[in-house]
């Protein structure tokens, strides 16, 4: 599949402009600042311009400080050679941001830079490190947030200059169909819980593109370790609505044998490990699995999903670190949907999301618009290739919004504004945005759309009916699978339990065959 570059002219003002032209302009501005530094006029110039520029340029944060030293253009523009060692990006923004906390001594000559090259370099464990006489703290943030990769604009139009992985019509339509199915499935199961027919449910509304597009970019041989908001991945791989319903009702056809709450799906056939409620515990599992794939020389990777909240757990840090050290083929996929139940990301971390942490552990990472199916698809496709070819971990952070409540046990209007939820449900809906793109390609018409929706609805309602009527797994399954064989203490306990049931039949649900 080829990478496609969008070169069609778009409406003016759409899409992102590269930084480069603006950056070339900037140093001259700073020379101007130097000249005006001592005048009162500087303050107003600084404040207006700084506000505008500050949104774009890392080191302009320093302009807002009172004691900005006179720094020459030359110093700002030319990085010291040592700063390019050791994997610093070639992004000029990063180079300049190192200057943000430059020495308070005014240095106006380029000769001072030469002196630095003569400073000592020492071989500590881990590699050479250059000494500097200035005390310099690395800023707590680079100043500018990591940019977000996007292909489709809010209107479902490909952005001029964007590059993305091409999708065949067949795959594109399957993606759309599965996103719609996921939406309908969520709506109806949620209702079923409200009606008391299932005990619990949680939706993935708003994250359909993340679920389906990421799954579409993987192969069936890639091993998935989900958190719990990724049923779309299972759906893509072929889990049927009946299978979903069976797990939610915990009936005898549930592969999990009725042992866990609804939405704790798992399928060994589809290489999707069973969901467990604890947050982030799956992340180091995925690293171990990736190591296995590497050792067995499989052309496949492990993929693990987690939310913004999950990145605070120790298991996240442990896993990223292990993955980097062991050099395993794995994609860490963070669904940054803004909320961990009621905790917004401002109360979850102070870093620039999850993506920025990749570098801290030695991981390549990317931030992507999670509501843009094509961007998610492309990013995961590329990540997978890198992960397998280079046997390395990749961190993908998809920015999105959790439109639904955390679960059926939550009412999110208690902690966030209703109009915010509605905005993301409607104007930022990933499904309709993607639909517009498909429609523009002439791949979908209204009839097909409504037929799809009504078919899914029908099939789902039928599946629920069937699942609901089916009996639960037999009592014996309470005791099996604790170990590979049932040990004597459990045989004993089953025996005693059965006696009790005989004595007190009314205490026990009739749907579970004894």
């Amino acid at each position: 599949m080829s990478i496609r570059h969008q070169t069609k002219a778009n409406k003016e003002g759409q899409g992102e402009k590269p930084h480069l032209d603006f950056f070339l302009f900037l140093p001259h501005l700073l020379d101007l600042f130097s000249l005006l530094h001592s005048t009162m006029g500087l303050w107003s110039v600084r404040s207006r311009l700084a506000h505008h520029l500050g949104q774009k340029m890392a080191y302009l944060g320093a302009l807002q400080r009172r004691s900005w030293p006179l720094v020459s253009f030359l110093q700002l523009w030319n990085p010291r050679p040592s700063e390019l060692v050791g994997g610093l990006s070639s992004n000029p923004i990063n180079r300049c941001s190192d200057r943000r906390f430059a020495s308070i001594k005014a240095e106006t000559s380029a000769a001072a830079m030469d002196d630095r090259c003569r400073y000592q370099v020492m071989d500590f464990p881990g590699g050479k490190v250059m000494f500097i006489p200035e005390m310099r703290f690395l800023a707590e943030s680079p100043g500018e947030r990591i940019s977000c990769y996007r292909v489709l604009d809010d209107d479902g139009q490909t952005i001029s200059g964007s590059s993305f992985q091409e999708v065949s019509k067949e795959i594109a339509l399957k993606m759309y169909s599965d996103m719609v199915t996921l939406q309908i499935m969520d709506t109806i199961f949620y209702e079923a819980q409200r009606q008391g027919r299932i005990s619990f449910y949680l939706t993935s509304i708003g994250e359909e593109a993340i679920n389906v597009a990421s799954a579409a970019a993987l192969t069936i041989n890639d091993i998935v370790f989900p958190q719990y908001r990724e049923p779309g991945v299972l759906l893509w791989r072929g889990f049927t609505l009946q299978e979903f319903a069976n797990q939610c009702f915990g009936n005898k056809s549930d592969y999990g044998k009725g042992r866990q709450m609804p939405i704790h799906y798992g399928s060994n056939r589809l290489n999707y490990f069973t969901v467990s409620s604890p947050i982030a515990t799956q992340i180091p599992h995925a690293v171990g699995a990736a190591y296995s794939l590497k050792m067995d020389k499989k052309h496949a990777c492990a993929v693990t999903y987690f939310g913004d909240g999950g990145t605070s757990e120790g298991d996240f840090h442990a896993a990223l670190n292990f993955a980097a050290v062991m050099e395993v083929p794995i994609i860490f996929f963070c669904r940054n949907n803004g909320w961990a139940i009621s905790t917004p990301t401002t109360e979850q971390f102070r870093s620039d999301g999850a993506v920025i942490r990749g570098q801290a552990y030695g991981l390549r990472s990317i931030r992507v618009d999670g509501n843009d199916a094509l961007a998610v698809y492309s990013a995961v496709h590329a990540a997978r290739e890198m992960a397998i070819r280079e046997s390395r971990p990749i961190l993908v952070e998809a920015l999105t919004y959790r439109v639904g409540h955390h679960s059926t046990s939550d009412d999110s209007t208690k902690y966030r504004p209703v109009d915010e939820i509605e905005h993301w449900r409607t104007a930022r809906d990933p499904v309709s945005r993607y639909r517009k793109w498909i429609e523009r390609n002439g791949w979908l018409c209204d009839d097909a759309e409504s037929e799809l929706r009504s078919n899914v609805r029908k099939e789902l309602l039928h599946a629920i009916q069937v699942a609901e009527k089916m009996e639960k797994p037999p009592l014996a399954e309470l005791f099996t699978d604790v170990y590979d064989q049932v040990p004597s203490n459990l045989h004993e306990q089953e025996r005693l339990l059965r006696e009790t049931i005989k004595q007190h039949n009314g205490d026990y649900p009739p749907e579970v065959p004894v």
């Binding site: 399928s267 490990f273 442990a318 896993a319 062991m326 203490n489």
Partner: protein
């Protein structure tokens, strides 16, 4: 008989603060090796017989802080025997994932005192992996081995016996060997058992316990206690290094005409109730002894179970309350270690008290 030989060789008498001198080796038929060498042999065999077996943990690459992993990296390569970053929850999580893909993941936790960060992974994930998936998945290939127990000078964080925490978790197996020959066979059985196992190795015995250990590949059964000394007056149950203490107590009790039956539990969960019950039905008395603090220790489970089963059965009854001689309910102290420990004389006093109840 192996243990009697062991008892003669170990000149422990009382626990010293400094590391005790190596026990003198007597020339015998088989190879006399110590506990860490026996463990090492088991690991060599495990890696040799299964190409998808891996050994990893902190510092295992150079041989490990107790030399249990000596020679493995050289022989099998750094892809199969490797150091991990210093992170127990990472070690456990990684091991679970590796095992879930059908490999034998033999993870080391450097000291049992440091196993707690891995507790969530072990309890919530490893133990429930098969059950929660309806047997679609399992991490049966997981074995976590860890040195545990008093060492004479370990203090709070190099002496703990945390086995009781894990015994409370359905889905796990907990195994503790008493000697080199036992350790090799039990560890190989644990590695090959299709369930996640936590294997605690008595660090006190790593160098001190020397025994004839067959060089071949052999396994000992799990969930089978071993009666290592027959007796008729009282049943003593223990595991790990405590067996040698119990053995010396038995020897001294014999001088007073008390015949002790000594049982090594070996697997703590699922534990062999039948063997212990059969013994107590014979003797009518039970004493359980372990280093871990008495309250909530695994002795409590054995005591309660046996009391339920043997209180009055088949005409025979428990002649006396079950005695527990265990560690105190304090963090493991340094200078007070000799006071804290369930010593031979504490056990002996309890044997006499129980017999004379």
């Amino acid at each position: 008989m192996a243990l009697r030989g062991l008892g003669r060789r170990i000149s422990i008498g009382k626990r010293c603060f400094s590391s005790a001198s190596e026990v003198e080796k007597r020339p015998r038929d088989g190879k006399q090796i110590n506990l860490f060498s026996a463990i090492n042999q088991a690991l060599h065999i495990a890696l040799e017989t299964d190409s998808r077996a891996y050994v990893f943990g902190e510092d295992v690459g150079f041989g490990g802080v107790f030399r249990c992993t000596t020679g493995l990296a050289d022989r099998f390569g750094r892809n199969r025997v490797f150091n991990t970053p210093l992170c127990e929850q990472g070690i456990a999580g990684f091991a679970i994932g590796l095992a879930a893909m059908g490999n034998r993941a033999i993870a080391e936790i450097q000291f049992a005192d440091y196993i707690y960060p891995a507790f969530d992974q072990i309890v919530n994930e490893a133990a429930k992996f098969r059950y929660r998936s309806g047997n679609q998945f399992n991490c049966g290939g997981l074995t976590i081995r860890s040195p545990y127990g008093a060492v004479g000078h370990g203090g709070h964080y190099h002496s703990q016996s945390p086995e009781a925490f894990f015994c409370h978790v359905p889905g796990l197996k907990v195994v503790i060997p008493r000697s080199p020959q036992q350790a090799k066979g039990l560890l190989l059985a644990c590695i090959r058992d299709p369930n996640p196992v936590v294997f605690f190795e008595p660090k006190w015995l790593y160098r001190l316990a020397v025994e004839e250990v067959p060089e071949r590949d052999y396994m000992l059964p799990l969930s089978q206690a071993e009666v290592i000394r027959q007796g008729s007056d009282i049943t003593l149950v223990g595991w790990g290094a405590q067996l040698s203490v119990l053995e010396r107590a038995c020897d001294e009790a014999a001088k007073d005409g008390i015949s002790c039956e000594l049982i090594d539990l070996r697997t703590l969960i699922p534990w062999d109730k039948e063997t212990v019950e059969a013994s107590v039905r014979k003797t009518g008395r039970l004493l359980v002894s372990h280093e871990a603090p008495v309250t909530g220790g695994f002795g409590a489970e054995i005591s309660a179970s046996i009391a339920e089963r043997c209180f009055l059965r088949h005409g025979l009854q428990l002649e006396a309350p079950v005695a527990r001689i265990c560690g105190l309910d304090t963090p493991f102290p340094l200078v007070y270690e000799p006071f804290y420990m369930p010593t031979k004389n504490k056990v002996l006093d309890a044997i006499k008290a129980t017999v004379n109840y």
